[in-house]
Protein backbone atom coordinates (compact mmCIF):
# COMPACT_ATOMS: atom_id res chain seq x y z
CA UNK A 1 0.00 0.00 0.00
CA UNK A 2 2.79 2.27 0.98
CA UNK A 3 4.21 2.27 -2.49
CA UNK A 4 0.90 3.38 -3.99
CA UNK A 5 0.69 6.69 -2.15
CA UNK A 6 2.31 9.77 -3.53
CA UNK A 7 4.75 11.22 -1.04
CA UNK A 8 3.20 14.65 -0.73
CA UNK A 9 2.37 16.73 2.33
CA UNK A 10 -1.30 16.68 1.37
CA UNK A 11 -1.37 12.87 1.38
CA UNK A 12 0.50 12.82 4.68
CA UNK A 13 -2.12 15.07 6.26
CA UNK A 14 -4.90 12.92 4.83
CA UNK A 15 -3.30 9.76 6.21
CA UNK A 16 -2.83 11.38 9.61
CA UNK A 17 -6.53 12.31 9.65
CA UNK A 18 -7.48 8.74 8.71
CA UNK A 19 -5.21 7.32 11.41
CA UNK A 20 -6.87 9.54 14.00
CA UNK A 21 -10.34 8.48 12.85
CA UNK A 22 -9.40 4.80 12.68
CA UNK A 23 -7.85 4.85 16.15
CA UNK A 24 -10.95 6.47 17.56
CA UNK A 25 -13.20 3.97 15.73
CA UNK A 26 -11.03 1.09 16.89
CA UNK A 27 -11.41 2.18 20.51
CA UNK A 28 -15.16 2.59 20.21
CA UNK A 29 -15.61 -0.76 18.47
CA UNK A 30 -13.50 -2.50 21.11
CA UNK A 31 -15.75 -1.08 23.81
CA UNK A 32 -18.82 -2.16 21.86
CA UNK A 33 -17.44 -5.68 21.48
CA UNK A 34 -16.69 -5.95 25.20
CA UNK A 35 -20.13 -4.60 26.08
CA UNK A 36 -21.82 -7.06 23.73
CA UNK A 37 -19.87 -9.97 25.19
CA UNK A 38 -20.91 -8.94 28.71
CA UNK A 39 -24.57 -8.73 27.66
CA UNK A 40 -24.18 -12.06 25.89
CA UNK A 41 -22.88 -13.70 29.07
CA UNK A 42 -26.06 -12.66 30.89
CA UNK A 43 -28.23 -14.08 28.13
CA UNK A 44 -26.16 -17.26 28.03
CA UNK A 45 -26.86 -17.94 31.71
CA UNK A 46 -30.54 -17.45 31.05
CA UNK A 47 -30.35 -19.71 28.00
CA UNK A 48 -28.75 -22.51 29.99
CA UNK A 49 -31.63 -22.39 32.49
CA UNK A 50 -34.24 -22.28 29.75
CA UNK A 51 -32.59 -25.21 27.97
CA UNK A 52 -32.64 -27.25 31.17
CA UNK A 53 -36.34 -26.56 31.68
CA UNK A 54 -37.05 -27.34 28.04
CA UNK A 55 -35.38 -30.74 28.20
CA UNK A 56 -37.27 -31.58 31.37
CA UNK A 57 -40.61 -30.42 29.93
CA UNK A 58 -40.00 -32.45 26.78
CA UNK A 59 -39.26 -35.60 28.74
CA UNK A 60 -42.34 -35.05 30.83
CA UNK A 61 -44.55 -34.43 27.80
CA UNK A 62 -43.20 -37.49 26.01
CA UNK A 63 -43.88 -39.63 29.03
CA UNK A 64 -47.45 -38.36 29.19
CA UNK A 65 -48.21 -38.83 25.51
CA UNK A 66 -46.66 -42.30 25.49
CA UNK A 67 -48.89 -43.18 28.39
CA UNK A 68 -51.93 -41.80 26.55
CA UNK A 69 -50.98 -43.76 23.44
CA UNK A 70 -50.57 -46.93 25.39
CA UNK A 71 -53.86 -46.56 27.21
CA UNK A 72 -56.07 -45.01 24.56
CA UNK A 73 -54.40 -46.10 21.36
CA UNK A 74 -52.62 -44.03 18.76
CA UNK A 75 -55.76 -43.36 16.76
CA UNK A 76 -57.59 -41.82 19.71
CA UNK A 77 -54.67 -39.50 20.46
CA UNK A 78 -54.41 -38.44 16.82
CA UNK A 79 -58.14 -37.96 16.66
CA UNK A 80 -58.07 -35.67 19.67
CA UNK A 81 -55.09 -33.81 18.21
CA UNK A 82 -56.94 -33.23 14.95
CA UNK A 83 -59.95 -31.84 16.75
CA UNK A 84 -58.19 -28.85 18.32
CA UNK A 85 -59.93 -25.55 17.60
CA UNK A 86 -57.83 -23.02 19.43
CA UNK A 87 -54.38 -22.43 18.03
CA UNK A 88 -51.53 -20.73 19.84
CA UNK A 89 -50.28 -17.53 18.28
CA UNK A 90 -47.19 -15.48 18.90
CA UNK A 91 -46.53 -11.80 18.44
CA UNK A 92 -43.06 -10.36 18.41
CA UNK A 93 -41.94 -7.02 19.76
CA UNK A 94 -38.40 -5.81 19.55
CA UNK A 95 -35.95 -4.72 22.21
CA UNK A 96 -32.65 -3.01 21.59
CA UNK A 97 -29.51 -4.30 23.30
CA UNK A 98 -26.47 -2.20 22.33
CA UNK A 99 -27.73 -1.73 18.80
CA UNK A 100 -28.86 -5.32 18.37
CA UNK A 101 -32.59 -5.64 17.91
CA UNK A 102 -33.71 -8.75 19.76
CA UNK A 103 -37.29 -10.02 19.76
CA UNK A 104 -39.59 -10.30 22.71
CA UNK A 105 -42.11 -12.97 21.95
CA UNK A 106 -45.56 -12.74 23.42
CA UNK A 107 -47.75 -15.79 23.16
CA UNK A 108 -51.48 -16.17 23.38
CA UNK A 109 -53.80 -19.12 23.67
CA UNK A 110 -51.07 -21.60 24.57
CA UNK A 111 -52.52 -22.84 27.86
CA UNK A 112 -56.15 -23.72 27.48
CA UNK A 113 -58.78 -24.99 29.81
CA UNK A 114 -60.42 -28.32 29.17
CA UNK A 115 -63.48 -26.93 27.43
CA UNK A 116 -61.40 -24.63 25.22
CA UNK A 117 -59.48 -27.48 23.65
CA UNK A 118 -62.22 -28.50 21.31
CA UNK A 119 -62.21 -32.26 21.60
CA UNK A 120 -65.15 -33.70 23.44
CA UNK A 121 -64.81 -34.40 27.12
CA UNK A 122 -66.77 -37.57 26.91
CA UNK A 123 -64.86 -39.20 24.08
CA UNK A 124 -61.38 -38.77 25.56
CA UNK A 125 -59.74 -39.75 28.78
CA UNK A 126 -57.77 -37.85 31.39
CA UNK A 127 -54.52 -39.26 29.93
CA UNK A 128 -55.03 -37.25 26.79
CA UNK A 129 -55.83 -34.16 28.83
CA UNK A 130 -52.64 -34.62 30.80
CA UNK A 131 -50.62 -35.08 27.63
CA UNK A 132 -52.20 -31.96 26.12
CA UNK A 133 -51.39 -29.99 29.25
CA UNK A 134 -47.81 -31.23 29.28
CA UNK A 135 -47.37 -30.21 25.65
CA UNK A 136 -48.87 -26.80 26.39
CA UNK A 137 -46.21 -26.34 29.09
CA UNK A 138 -43.60 -27.51 26.63
CA UNK A 139 -44.79 -24.94 24.08
CA UNK A 140 -44.44 -22.18 26.69
CA UNK A 141 -40.86 -23.30 27.33
CA UNK A 142 -40.20 -23.46 23.59
CA UNK A 143 -41.43 -19.90 23.12
CA UNK A 144 -39.14 -18.71 25.91
CA UNK A 145 -36.24 -20.67 24.43
CA UNK A 146 -36.96 -19.22 21.01
CA UNK A 147 -36.80 -15.70 22.40
CA UNK A 148 -33.53 -16.30 24.22
CA UNK A 149 -31.95 -18.23 21.36
CA UNK A 150 -32.87 -15.63 18.78
CA UNK A 151 -31.32 -12.98 20.99
CA UNK A 152 -28.21 -15.14 21.34
CA UNK A 153 -27.93 -15.78 17.62
CA UNK A 154 -28.35 -12.11 16.77
CA UNK A 155 -25.86 -11.03 19.41
CA UNK A 156 -23.36 -13.64 18.30
CA UNK A 157 -23.61 -12.35 14.75
CA UNK A 158 -23.08 -8.79 15.94
CA UNK A 159 -20.16 -9.84 18.16
CA UNK A 160 -18.59 -11.65 15.22
CA UNK A 161 -19.02 -8.65 12.91
CA UNK A 162 -17.68 -6.23 15.52
CA UNK A 163 -14.76 -8.52 16.25
CA UNK A 164 -13.95 -8.76 12.57
CA UNK A 165 -14.09 -4.97 12.25
CA UNK A 166 -11.83 -4.49 15.28
CA UNK A 167 -9.35 -7.02 13.92
CA UNK A 168 -9.44 -5.50 10.45
CA UNK A 169 -8.66 -2.09 11.91
CA UNK A 170 -6.03 -3.40 14.28
CA UNK A 171 -4.19 -5.77 11.99
CA UNK A 172 -4.82 -4.44 8.48
CA UNK A 173 -5.98 -0.85 8.15
CA UNK A 174 -3.97 0.80 10.92
CA UNK A 175 -0.66 -0.96 10.11
CA UNK A 176 -1.13 -0.02 6.45
CA UNK A 177 -1.81 3.59 7.38
CA UNK A 178 1.20 3.71 9.72
CA UNK A 179 3.33 2.23 6.96
CA UNK A 180 2.03 4.83 4.52
CA UNK A 181 2.69 7.62 6.99
CA UNK A 182 6.23 6.41 7.63
CA UNK A 183 6.87 6.00 3.93
CA UNK A 184 5.71 9.54 3.16
CA UNK A 185 7.63 11.00 6.09
CA UNK A 186 10.80 9.24 5.04
CA UNK A 187 10.34 10.27 1.43
CA UNK A 188 9.70 13.86 2.44
CA UNK A 189 12.76 13.88 4.70
CA UNK A 190 14.81 12.43 1.90
CA UNK A 191 13.48 15.05 -0.48
CA UNK A 192 14.40 17.72 2.05
CA UNK A 193 17.88 16.29 2.40
CA UNK A 194 18.24 16.14 -1.36
CA UNK A 195 17.02 19.70 -1.61
CA UNK A 196 19.52 20.89 1.01
CA UNK A 197 22.25 18.99 -0.71
CA UNK A 198 21.26 20.44 -4.06
CA UNK A 199 21.18 23.93 -2.63
CA UNK A 200 24.59 23.38 -1.10
CA UNK A 201 25.90 22.13 -4.43
CA UNK A 202 24.42 25.10 -6.23
CA UNK A 203 25.84 27.44 -3.64
CA UNK A 204 29.23 25.76 -3.96
CA UNK A 205 29.09 26.03 -7.72
CA UNK A 206 28.04 29.62 -7.53
CA UNK A 207 30.79 30.41 -5.07
CA UNK A 208 33.22 28.55 -7.25
CA UNK A 209 32.04 30.50 -10.24
CA UNK A 210 32.26 33.75 -8.32
CA UNK A 211 35.68 32.82 -7.06
CA UNK A 212 36.82 31.98 -10.54
CA UNK A 213 35.36 35.20 -11.79
CA UNK A 214 37.00 37.11 -9.02
CA UNK A 215 40.28 35.36 -9.68
CA UNK A 216 39.91 36.03 -13.34
CA UNK A 217 39.21 39.65 -12.59
CA UNK A 218 42.11 39.81 -10.22
CA UNK A 219 44.31 38.16 -12.77
CA UNK A 220 43.07 40.58 -15.35
CA UNK A 221 43.62 43.41 -13.00
CA UNK A 222 47.10 42.15 -12.29
CA UNK A 223 47.76 41.88 -15.98
CA UNK A 224 46.51 45.36 -16.41
CA UNK A 225 48.71 46.49 -13.54
CA UNK A 226 51.69 44.92 -15.18
CA UNK A 227 50.94 46.62 -18.49
CA UNK A 228 49.95 49.96 -16.98
CA UNK A 229 53.42 51.41 -15.98
CA UNK A 230 54.69 51.31 -19.59
CA UNK A 231 51.58 52.86 -20.90
CA UNK A 232 51.65 55.48 -18.25
CA UNK A 233 55.25 56.50 -18.98
CA UNK A 234 54.49 56.72 -22.68
CA UNK A 235 51.29 58.52 -22.11
CA UNK A 236 52.69 60.96 -19.63
CA UNK A 237 55.69 61.62 -21.68
CA UNK A 238 53.71 62.77 -24.60
CA UNK A 239 51.73 65.48 -22.84
CA UNK A 240 54.88 66.58 -21.23
CA UNK A 241 56.39 66.70 -24.51
CA UNK A 242 53.32 68.36 -25.90
CA UNK A 243 53.33 70.66 -23.00
CA UNK A 244 56.93 71.26 -23.40
CA UNK A 245 56.49 71.69 -27.07
CA UNK A 246 53.37 73.70 -26.47
CA UNK A 247 55.10 75.58 -23.83
CA UNK A 248 58.14 75.49 -25.80
CA UNK A 249 56.56 76.92 -28.86
CA UNK A 250 55.24 80.04 -27.26
CA UNK A 251 58.34 80.13 -25.26
CA UNK A 252 60.28 79.48 -28.40
CA UNK A 253 58.42 82.11 -30.28
Amino acid sequence: MAKDVKPTRKNLMEIEDRIELSERGHGTLEKKRDGLIMEFMDILDKAQDVRGDLAQDYQNAQKKINMARAMEGDVAVRGAAAALQEHPEITTESKNIMGVVVPQIESSRVSKSLDQRGYGIMGTSARIDEAAEAYEDLLESIILAAEVETAMKKMLREIETTKRRVNALEFKLLPDLYEGQEYIEQKLEEQEREETFRLKKIKEKKEQAEKEEREAEEAEAEDEDEVAPDDESGDTAEPDMEQSTAGGVPGGD
Binding site: I37, Y58, I65, A81, E86, P88, I90, V110, I128, Y135
Partner: protein, 110 residues
Protein backbone atom coordinates in the same frame (compact mmCIF):
# COMPACT_ATOMS: atom_id res chain seq x y z
CA UNK B 1 -48.02 -9.27 13.34
CA UNK B 2 -49.16 -12.54 14.82
CA UNK B 3 -47.37 -15.66 13.77
CA UNK B 4 -47.71 -19.37 14.29
CA UNK B 5 -45.61 -22.16 15.67
CA UNK B 6 -44.70 -24.94 13.24
CA UNK B 7 -43.50 -28.46 13.95
CA UNK B 8 -41.46 -30.60 11.58
CA UNK B 9 -40.76 -34.25 12.22
CA UNK B 10 -42.14 -37.76 12.42
CA UNK B 11 -45.90 -38.16 13.03
CA UNK B 12 -45.14 -39.34 16.60
CA UNK B 13 -43.23 -36.16 17.27
CA UNK B 14 -45.81 -33.79 15.82
CA UNK B 15 -48.91 -35.40 17.38
CA UNK B 16 -48.13 -34.08 20.85
CA UNK B 17 -47.75 -30.55 19.58
CA UNK B 18 -50.96 -30.82 17.65
CA UNK B 19 -52.58 -31.79 20.89
CA UNK B 20 -51.39 -28.48 22.30
CA UNK B 21 -53.00 -26.66 19.37
CA UNK B 22 -50.21 -26.35 16.81
CA UNK B 23 -51.80 -26.52 13.37
CA UNK B 24 -48.84 -25.88 11.09
CA UNK B 25 -46.99 -29.18 10.92
CA UNK B 26 -45.00 -31.22 8.45
CA UNK B 27 -45.23 -34.96 8.95
CA UNK B 28 -42.26 -36.84 7.58
CA UNK B 29 -42.17 -40.56 8.42
CA UNK B 30 -38.80 -41.85 9.65
CA UNK B 31 -38.00 -43.88 6.52
CA UNK B 32 -38.65 -40.90 4.23
CA UNK B 33 -36.69 -38.34 6.21
CA UNK B 34 -33.59 -38.49 4.01
CA UNK B 35 -35.64 -37.60 0.94
CA UNK B 36 -38.39 -35.33 2.24
CA UNK B 37 -37.12 -33.59 5.37
CA UNK B 38 -35.12 -30.99 3.39
CA UNK B 39 -38.22 -29.87 1.49
CA UNK B 40 -40.39 -29.85 4.61
CA UNK B 41 -37.89 -27.75 6.56
CA UNK B 42 -37.41 -25.33 3.66
CA UNK B 43 -41.18 -24.96 3.28
CA UNK B 44 -41.70 -23.87 6.90
CA UNK B 45 -38.61 -21.66 6.88
CA UNK B 46 -39.93 -19.82 3.86
CA UNK B 47 -43.44 -19.43 5.32
CA UNK B 48 -43.76 -15.87 6.58
CA UNK B 49 -46.62 -16.78 8.88
CA UNK B 50 -44.32 -19.01 10.93
CA UNK B 51 -42.41 -17.46 13.83
CA UNK B 52 -41.00 -20.52 15.59
CA UNK B 53 -40.09 -23.88 14.09
CA UNK B 54 -39.79 -26.88 16.40
CA UNK B 55 -37.65 -29.82 15.34
CA UNK B 56 -36.10 -32.85 16.96
CA UNK B 57 -32.33 -32.77 17.44
CA UNK B 58 -31.81 -36.12 15.75
CA UNK B 59 -33.69 -34.95 12.65
CA UNK B 60 -30.96 -32.44 11.90
CA UNK B 61 -28.77 -35.37 10.85
CA UNK B 62 -31.15 -36.10 7.97
CA UNK B 63 -30.90 -32.59 6.53
CA UNK B 64 -28.55 -31.73 3.72
CA UNK B 65 -25.61 -29.48 4.59
CA UNK B 66 -27.13 -26.26 3.21
CA UNK B 67 -30.55 -26.69 4.80
CA UNK B 68 -28.96 -27.69 8.08
CA UNK B 69 -26.86 -24.56 8.14
CA UNK B 70 -29.92 -22.50 7.33
CA UNK B 71 -31.84 -24.19 10.14
CA UNK B 72 -29.04 -23.61 12.64
CA UNK B 73 -28.53 -19.96 11.85
CA UNK B 74 -32.06 -18.86 10.97
CA UNK B 75 -33.39 -15.99 13.06
CA UNK B 76 -36.70 -15.40 11.34
CA UNK B 77 -38.23 -17.85 11.93
CA UNK B 78 -36.14 -19.14 14.81
CA UNK B 79 -35.67 -22.90 14.93
CA UNK B 80 -35.78 -24.55 18.36
CA UNK B 81 -34.48 -28.08 18.49
CA UNK B 82 -35.39 -30.37 21.34
CA UNK B 83 -34.57 -33.95 22.16
CA UNK B 84 -31.14 -35.09 23.19
CA UNK B 85 -30.73 -32.18 25.56
CA UNK B 86 -27.51 -30.63 24.30
CA UNK B 87 -29.46 -28.08 22.32
CA UNK B 88 -28.28 -25.54 19.77
CA UNK B 89 -25.70 -27.68 18.04
CA UNK B 90 -24.91 -24.85 15.68
CA UNK B 91 -25.10 -22.31 18.46
CA UNK B 92 -22.20 -23.88 20.30
CA UNK B 93 -20.03 -23.67 17.20
CA UNK B 94 -21.13 -20.09 16.66
CA UNK B 95 -20.22 -19.16 20.25
CA UNK B 96 -16.83 -20.79 19.82
CA UNK B 97 -16.24 -18.80 16.66
CA UNK B 98 -17.49 -15.45 17.95
CA UNK B 99 -16.16 -15.42 21.49
CA UNK B 100 -13.17 -17.66 20.96
CA UNK B 101 -13.92 -19.96 23.90
CA UNK B 102 -16.28 -22.91 24.20
CA UNK B 103 -18.52 -21.35 26.85
CA UNK B 104 -21.08 -24.15 26.82
CA UNK B 105 -18.40 -26.74 27.46
CA UNK B 106 -17.05 -24.73 30.39
CA UNK B 107 -20.52 -24.45 31.87
CA UNK B 108 -21.11 -28.16 31.53
CA UNK B 109 -17.91 -28.95 33.37
CA UNK B 110 -18.81 -26.72 36.31
Amino acid sequence: MSQEIAVVGSPEFTTGFRLAGVRRFENVPDDEKDDRLDDAATAVLEDEGVGIVVMHDDDLEHLSRNVRQEVETSVEPVVVTIGSGTGGGGLREQIKRAIGIDLMDEDEQE
